[in-house]
Structures are given as C-alpha cells and as structure tokens.
Symmetry: C2
Subunit: 366 residues, 2 copies
C-alpha cells in the first residue's frame, strides 16, 4: 500500500535529525575531533545538502557529490602544485586564470540540457571543491593532506546519509511513481463516474462535478515533470520489494504520456459538452443512453488499468474484454444518429487511445 | 527582442567566472586576507551556490541566503551561549538536543508545499548555519565574533553576485516569461498553418506535419511548471525595460493556462482527424473549405495574440475582429452539414476558448 500522507514527512524529518546528531558527534566526542578537526563541518554540510526525501535522490546526490569532490579536489591539487613552484605573483596569476577558466567552462556545462538534467549537482560540487582546494594552499601549503582530510569527512557524511536513508524506513521514489501512476487512473475513473449523473439532470449549473473532471484532466496533463524526475530517481534505487534492478521505468512515462493524451480528449469532450448544454438547455434524450454506456465502460477500463498497474498483474481487460469493447464500439457507431456524431467520434477516439494504452501496458507488465 | 540561444549561456558563464575571480581576490590579496581570514571560503561557497542564470533567481536566492544565515546564526549563537554556561556533559546534551529538534522541525517545514515552493532554500541555509555555529564554539569560544565574520563574508559574496547579475548583461526571467508566452502563440500558429495543406492531399501518411502540431500542443501542455517558476522569479526582479514593479505576472499564467486548454482541444481535433482519415481514406470535399477557413482564422488570431503580447499593445483583434468572427462562426454552423458536425463543434469550442483568452489578454494589457 501507498503510505498515508503526512506520516512519511514526519519520518523523514526525524531521520534527518538523527543524521545531524550523528554527524555532530564528530565534533562533540573528543577523540574523534582530534582526528578530523575543523573539517568536520564538511560532514555537516554534506548531510544538510545531500539528505533528500527519496532514497534514490539521496543516493544519486551522494554519489554525484562524491564524484564532484574527488574530481574537483584532484584537479585543484594539481593546479595548486603547478602554481606553487614559482614566485608569488606568478602563483596568483595561475590561480586566478584557472579559477576563471574552470569556473566558466563548468558553468557553461551546467546550462546544457543533457548535463543539467542529470549531472547538475556533480558539476556544481566540482566547481566548489576545485575553488576551495585551489585557494586554500595559497596560505596553508599542506594541500594534498587537506584535500584528503576533507574527502574523508565528506565520505563520513555521505555514509551516514545513505545508510539512514536506505535502511531506516526508506522512502522509495519507485513506490511513489508506481502508486501515483495507478492512482491517476483511479482518480480519473472516480471523477468521470461521479459526473455521469449530472449529464442530463442539471442542465444550467456550470460549477458541477464535471468541472472537477476537467480539473483532474489538467492536473494529469501537468504531472509530467514530476513523473520524469521520479523516474530518474527510481533508476538509482537498489532492488527492493517487487522492483528489480532493471524495472522498466520508462514504461511508466509512456503510460503517463498516453493517459495524458486521454485526459486531453476527455477535457475537450467535457468542455464541448458544457458549452453545448449552455447553448441548447435540454439535450436530446436519445444520446443519453449510449453516452452513459460508453462513459461507464471508460470508467471500468480505467479502474481495471489502475488496479492492474497497482498489483503489477497482466490486465484482465486485455485478454477478456478488448474484443467485447470493439464490438460494442461498432454497435455504438450504428446507434448514434447524425446529431450525436460528436460524442460517438469523441468516444471513438477515447477507445482508440485506451486500447493503445492497454497494449502499452501489456508490454510494461511483461 | 528575445536573445539568441547559446549566446546568453556564454555570457552567464563568463559572469560566473568573473564573480569567482573577484571573490578569490579575498584570498589572494594580502591585506584583505588579514581581515577576513579563512572565512573567505564562505564567500566562494556563496557565489557557487547563489549565482543563478536569471537575475531574479540570483536575487531571491541571495536574499533567502542572507535571511537564513542571519536567523540561523542568531539562534545558533543564543543556543551556544545557553549551553556554554554549564559543565561539559550538559553542554553536549544541550547541543545534541537542540540540533535534533531544530533539524527535525526545519526539515519538516521544508516538506510543506507552501514553504517548499518559496522558502526551501532559506530554511536549508538556516539549518546549515544553525548547526555550524552551534557546533563551532564547543571548540573556539569566540562565538559571536565568528558568526559576525562569517556573516560579513557571506554578505561580500552576495554583493558580488547580485551586482554582477543585475548590472552586467542581466538575464531577466521576466523577459523570458514574456517572450516565451508570445512565442508559444506564434509556434502553434505556424504549425497549424503548415499542416493545413496536408488536410486533404496526403490521406494515408501518418508521419506528417500534423504530428508536429500534436507535438507542439503537448509541449505547450507540459510547459506549466516552467512558467510558474519563471513567474515566481519575475516577481523578484526590479523595474527594468517595460516591466514595472507591479507587472501582473499571474496574468501570464492565466494566458498560458488558457492556451493550454486550447492546445488540448487542437490536439483532440487533430487526433480525431488523423484516425478518421485512416478509417475513410477519402474525406468529403464539402468539409474542406469551411475547415480551412476556420483554421486560417485560428492561425491569424493566434498570430495577432502573439504579436500583441510581444509588443504589449491592446490586441487589434479584440476591437475590430471579434464581432466579425462571431458572425463567421454562425455562418460556419449553417454551412456544415450533418457529417461534418465534429469539425464545426470542435472549432466552435476553439472559438469560445480563443475569445475567452482574448478577454483575459485585454485585462492583462490594461
């Protein structure tokens, strides 16, 4: 089951609190402090910046932070040693120039869409570490040792973050993606279901359940960005529950995309329906029955899909019901007279898309 | 005019490079280093973390960083002084407990949607500063002086960031929002315009310009998140060019929302059109002319809107053309025979929405 809202947030907050206290022990306990020294602040900073809500986010940020620190620290040490050999004026020029060049190039890389989407954080940490390492030795001269000390404390912070995030009540982005996809199907089904009674009973009221359906459609259309980031994070998460290492996360995006297309169509249908209700206040009762039949099967199909995604079972609908639906569709086309072409065609479209979503899902559930 | 792609990214990167070099001078120049000491690393960190692409983003992050640092530092000092009065064991317990409590509460606050959307960064900096200040004095005893020194260096970093961001080739999120809104109208118009010739000439080809229209519609539908963040940033930007302090940014979101609804309808219309072309390979020529007339006026209206948003002028269409369109719509409804009801009704919808978008825009341009 999906977690209940609110509870997860409290658990996450307590986890961060525990991680912060653990990392503070590096300062508070004398023997540890002797070894790590002032660098312990890097561990605190790591916990605050890296500990994210989802385990996948913590893991990916942590690994990127590690890589950024190592690469930035290494290059920084190299540049600093190079600069240190000559006299002071030359040193200042080398340091300034390399900071400018690396800062500019790395910032430009952060703006490229491909790198921005995935490696933004790693490049940022690279710039930060490179600058801090390069600048410190101008004073302290003990550059490599300093870099290694900092790396060790960052590593300690990362280890605490990742362990707490994964082993104590983990929040998986994969669960979130899985259940939110199933939930979208069911929410849309419930909305459409609830709006059915209003189709012919309340002709003039505009603020009805049908507006709720349109709102739901819009929220489905706008959920893409969120889904993409969840799928990105889900790839990072280790094997757990029913999700293997090579779970086809991109299939969720495809299903989401198809559901979005369906939502756009339902949105248009309801919009059309509302405006035509306003134009001619009493609709012909002849269209009522077939429309309701089509909407009810739409609701039923959506529920089946939601259920089958949630339980990760091959959808019953795909085997038993698709042929039945196809024949029903043909029947509907015959029943519909000229004045109700719109609904028939609209629902036609919906069936087409629904069927394609069905096929996609079968692929996803293989 | 909107900036040309690519050039802006280079300018931004060079600006960040300059800011980094300026902040490095704090280390490199001896007299300055004597005063700010090792704390200069806070200035570097501030530049790397705060300098964003848009001036509004830099400004808001900078101000939030400032507030977070002051509040976190103040509370940290208070807690540290409180803890320092007693013996060591007691001190460790007070420090650990307050880190746990403040860390947990602040992390929980970061998860609340309202705070997450706006103040996420400020709360994060608060946690970071609070912990670092609280933990340092356990060793150094010179707590208030340390906190003030750090605040001063963070302030220096912020000043460098904000000055460079605003005064040297500034990138305004408000420009981006303004031109991208206008550009969306024009892009949709061009796509629809380009697809018109294919309506009856290529009956069986599925990979046509019409798919481009559907792709464009989808990208418009998915642009909401980006627009919202731009509008959020635009509010931070000072008076510049033709944008005053109280420019109605939320109107852009409303226009975007309406354009999204229109895009959903155009998407459905093209989807229907493609599937019905597949079903009956030759469409009746009777529907050709009215459909083209409607689509051409749609293209024209979209172009007018795009142009009027770009130039921030009251749309000519609103005064001269709306009544004409209304009468044309009525004519079309008469021309359309039973078998073309779908297009007529679909375009009806489009007109309705287009008109409502028109009205909204008039309000926005007051």
């Amino acid at each position: 089951m999906a977690y209940i809202g609110g509870k997860r947030e409290v658990i996450h907050s307590v986890k961060v609190g525990i991680a912060l206290v653990l990392v503070t022990l590096l300062y508070l306990l004398d023997p540890l402090f002797e070894r790590v020294g002032e660098n312990a602040m890097w561990a605190i900073m790591t916990v605050v910046l890296v500990f994210e809500f989802f385990a996948g986010a913590t893991l990916s940020k942590g690994i990127y932070r590690g890589i950024g620190t190592i690469v930035g620290g290494g290059l920084g040490c190299f540049a600093a040693i190079l600069a240190n050999k000559r006299e002071e004026m030359f040193e200042a020029i080398v340091v300034g120039t390399s900071i400018f060049i690396f800062g500019t190039v790395a910032t430009y890389m952060r703006l490229l869409p491909k790198i921005k989407r995935r490696y933004d954080y790693a490049v940022m940490i690279f710039i930060l570490t490179f600058n801090l390492v390069l600048v410190s030795p101008v004073r302290s001269e003990i550059i490599v040792g300093l870099a290694l000390d900092r790396l060790a404390t960052v590593g300690m912070g990362l280890a605490i973050c990742i362990c707490i995030s994964i082993f104590i009540f983990p929040m998986w982005a994969s669960d979130e993606l899985h259940y939110s996809t199933a939930f979208k199907f069911q929410k849309l089904a419930s909305c459409v279901d609830g709006s059915l009674e209003e189709f012919y009973t309340i002709p003039n009221d505009t603020e009805t359940l049908q507006s709720t359906v349109m709102q739901t459609c819009k929220s489905i259309l706008h959920s893409k960005t969120n889904e993409e980031s969840l799928a990105n994070l889900a790839r990072w998460e280790p094997w757990h529950g029913k999700f293997g290492f090579f779970h086809p996360w991109e299939k969720y995006l495809e299903v989401g995309e198809t559901l979005g297309e369906l939502a756009a169509m339902i949105f248009t249908f309801y919009g059309y329906f509302q405006s035509s209700k306003k134009a001619s206040s009493v609709m012909s009762q002849a269209t009522k029955e077939p429309t309701e039949i089509v909407m009810l099967s739409l609701v039923w199909i959506l529920r089946e899909f939601g259920e089958s995604i949630k339980k990760m079972k091959r959808c019953r609908a795909s085997v038993l019901i698709t042929p039945k639906l196809q024949s029903m569709k043909l029947q509907l086309n015959l029943i519909y007279s000229a004045d109700s072409t719109v609904e028939a065609q609209e629902n036609d479209e919906k069936f087409k898309i629904t069927c394609s979503s069905l096929l996609m899902e079968i692929v996803a559930k293989m």
